[in-house]
């Protein structure tokens, strides 16, 4: 895949995750979500389980954004 397209698609998913934060918190509190093409394609309480699930489906992991969704009221400080 073209490197610029790869980065653009990944960035779009990241921005989408930011705009959809409230909805993600409602559906997947304290879970890891895998996002591809601005859709949640897998989720679990364990990041390892998410990756295992994606590998079973033969997903290209380089295209997938995986992030933790804190429950409402829980803020992540970096």
């Amino acid at each position: 895949m073209d490197e610029l397209k790869l980065l653009n698609d990944f960035e779009k998913s990241g921005f989408w995750a930011g705009t959809a934060q409230h909805e993600l918190q409602k559906q997947y509190p304290n879970e890891y979500v895998a996002i591809k093409d601005c859709h949640v394609i897998a989720h679990d309480k364990s990041s390892k389980n998410v990756i295992d699930l994606l590998e079973k489906r033969s997903e290209d992991l380089t295209l997938v954004l995986i992030q933790f969704v804190p429950e409402k009221g829980l803020q992540i400080l970096y």
Partner: protein, 145 residues
């Protein structure tokens, strides 16, 4: 040269997206970094490394850091090529020699790991980039004179 950065919708997190390449794979892996000028270190989280199908423990431990009271081991990757999108829409490659992997706390029962990859001050220093940030007008970028 400018490398646009992304302010989160609430304007409380500054993000930099880039493709990284490092041995042994050397294929592009897109990463979302949190830009953190309070961090002296630049590292990718183990979750991101798992997406690359390489094992953290194949890289030597460099040092440890404390994050939120948790001691985290950093493994040194070494030389990395980081490709950002510049303000012309073209890829801008930057070599960085101090990228590390943060060993995740995911294996500890009952812990939660935000899984963030951090772009810290050592990246800005080594690459001689400056950071412009104007949240009011939603403008943020890395620049080079």
């Amino acid at each position: 040269m400018k490398i646009p950065l992304l302010l989160s919708p609430k304007k409380n997190v500054l993000e930099a997206y880039c493709n990284i390449r490092f041995s042994p794979k050397n294929i592009p892996l897109p990463i979302r970094f949190i830009v953190d000028t309070g961090s002296s270190e630049t590292f990718i989280d183990e979750i991101d490394v798992m997406r690359y199908r390489v094992f953290t423990k194949t890289f030597p431990v460099s040092n440890s850091i404390l994050i939120g009271g948790n001691k985290i081991s950093l493994h040194k990757i070494g030389k990395t090529v980081m490709a950002f999108k510049n303000d012309s829409g073209a890829m801008e490659q930057i070599e960085f020699n101090d990228l590390k992997i943060a060993e995740s706390a995911r294996s500890r029962q009952g812990t939660m790991n935000a899984g963030a990859s951090i772009l810290g001050m050592n990246f800005l220093n080594e690459s001689a980039l400056h950071l412009f940030l104007d949240p009011t007008n939603n403008v943020a970028y890395f620049g080079k004179n």
